[in-house]
Structures are given as structure tokens and as C-alpha cells.
Amino acid sequence: MQVLMVLLTGLVFGLGLIMSGMTDPSKVIGFLDLAGKWDPSLAFVMGGAILIGIFAFRFAATRPQAILGGPMRLPTARHIDGRLVLGGLAFGAGWGLAGYCPGPALASLAAGGSKPLIFAIAMLAGMAIFEIQDRFSQLPAKKAA
């Protein structure tokens, strides 16, 4: 049941991305191009998703457990640091360059074409670089602790 729900969730998420226009990089860049002919569509994607999200998170806060069991795993991090901002800036630069963010890149793979595939492989490589660097930088900290 849990597995089926997760599969369905990923599917609905992907269908939403496709319907919204997020899987079309030229549309994403059209939204980011404030100085050119601006396509505000993606603000409607964000607005629609957050409209439902606000109610979902409010409701979730009143529930001790997930419906299918297990705890509510809400993020606990609160700190705002250079890592958060620099990471965001790097992500935004890549997003602006290609017009893909992680979800739409994955939801574009099965539609074919080598371009989303190249992007997705590079993205996974970037994530792997982070993992290696993160583990490496944590070593001295662990020894000290």
C-alpha cells in the first residue's frame, strides 16, 4: 500500500510538471527572462502548488502520524547560513543556464532525447561530488567530536 502510494505520488507530481510547462526549458527561461518578453506562467505553477501545500502542511501539523503509519518527517533545520545561500545561487545559475530543475529533468527522460539525459547525468555527478566533498569535510569534525 505504501509503495503504491509513493509510486502514485511520483506519477502525479510528474504529470503536474508536464502539464504546467516546467518540462519545457524554453518556458522556464521565458519566466526567468524579466528583461525580455516575460512569460509569467510559472508563477501560476508555484501559486497553484503552494495553495494546496499551505492547507496540507497546516493539516499535517495537527496529525501525530502519517495516514499510512510512521512519523511525520518534517524538516527540523532552521539555520540560515552561507551554505544555504551559496547552494541556492549555484542551483539558480544552473537552472537559468539550461532551464531544468531536478524534477522536470527526471520527468523529461522517458520522453526521449539526449539533452535531458545529458543534463540528468551531469546533475547526478554534481550530487555525487557533493557527497564526496561532504564526507571528506566531515572527517576531521568527527575526529574532534
Binding site: 507530481f13 526549458p25 537552472w95
Partner: protein, 143 residues
């Protein structure tokens, strides 16, 4: 500011956004998890026992979406201007950046803003700003 009316698709974008919201709500209420794509994907590169299966299944759903969509309606046409080198550089930046910044458009943008999290607001402002500036440089300063 000039609006690109020819490409403006408020209704399909709103409908897609609502679907993304529904998926986010489903994942939160049924599974107790945050639908943040970069986090779900990145966690696969940091494998922990019992923490792999759900990530793989979610990604499979996401990967299968165009196939299911195609059964009901023709897939929307897409246009990718970026060349191979740009795609590689962009992919690396998105991969590294989303992991350092602990989230992307879904985790910080949709979930974080829905939770009114100041941390996610800062992250979202950061990647939006960088996106605007990058497109301005590429389209209007260089291009």
C-alpha cells in the same frame, strides 16, 4: 516589462501547479514525507538501510509520468536551447547547488514556502535571483 502573451499559459500552468500541490499533500499526509526531488534523488547517493526503496519508487513514478501523460494527450512540445557543454555545466551546478542548499524548486520552493519556513524563503530567493541574473547575462549581455 513586456509580457509574452503568445506563450502565457495561465490555466494549464495553474492546473499543473495544483497537481504538484496534490502530490505534495499526498506524500506529506499519507507517507509523512516532504516531496523534495533533489533530496529524494540525492539520498540515493547516500544509501542507508531501509531508506532506498521509497526513493527509487518515487523516482520511477516521476520517470513514468510522460508515458502515462502520453496515453491521455500528446506531450507538450519542448524546446531546449542549451548545447551539450551548457547542459553539462548546468547539470553540475544544479546537482551540487541543490545538495549544498538542501533543496530545489520543490523542497524549498513548494514545500518550504507552504510551511512559511524562513530558511526556505531565503533559499528560494537565492535560486530565483541567480536564475534571473543568469538569464539576463546569457540573453542580454552575452547573447
Amino acid at each position: 516589462m513586456m509580457i509574452d502573451w503568445a506563450h502565457f499559459t495561465p490555466w494549464s500552468s495553474l492546473a499543473g501547479g495544483l497537481l504538484i500541490g496534490v502530490a505534495t499533500a499526498m506524500f506529506l499526509l499519507f507517507n509523512g514525507r516532504i516531496a523534495g526531488i533533489s533530496g529524494i534523488l540525492g539520498g540515493l547517493l547516500r544509501p542507508k538501510t531501509g531508506d532506498i526503496g521509497w526513493r527509487v519508487v518515487f523516482v520511477l513514478g516521476l520517470l513514468g509520468a510522460p508515458l502515462v501523460y502520453g496515453l491521455a494527450a500528446p506531450l507538450p512540445s519542448v524546446h531546449i536551447d542549451a548545447d551539450m557543454t551548457t547542459l553539462v555545466v548546468a547539470g553540475l551546478l544544479v546537482g551540487v547547488g541543490t545538495r549544498y542548499g538542501s533543496g530545489c524548486t520543490s523542497g524549498h520552493g513548494v514545500c518550504g514556502l507552504s510551511r512559511l519556513s524562513p530558511r526556505s524563503m531565503v533559499a528560494t530567493a537565492s535560486f530565483m535571483l541567480a536564475g534571473f541574473v543568469t538569464v539576463f547575462i546569457v540573453r542580454h549581455l552575452i547573447g
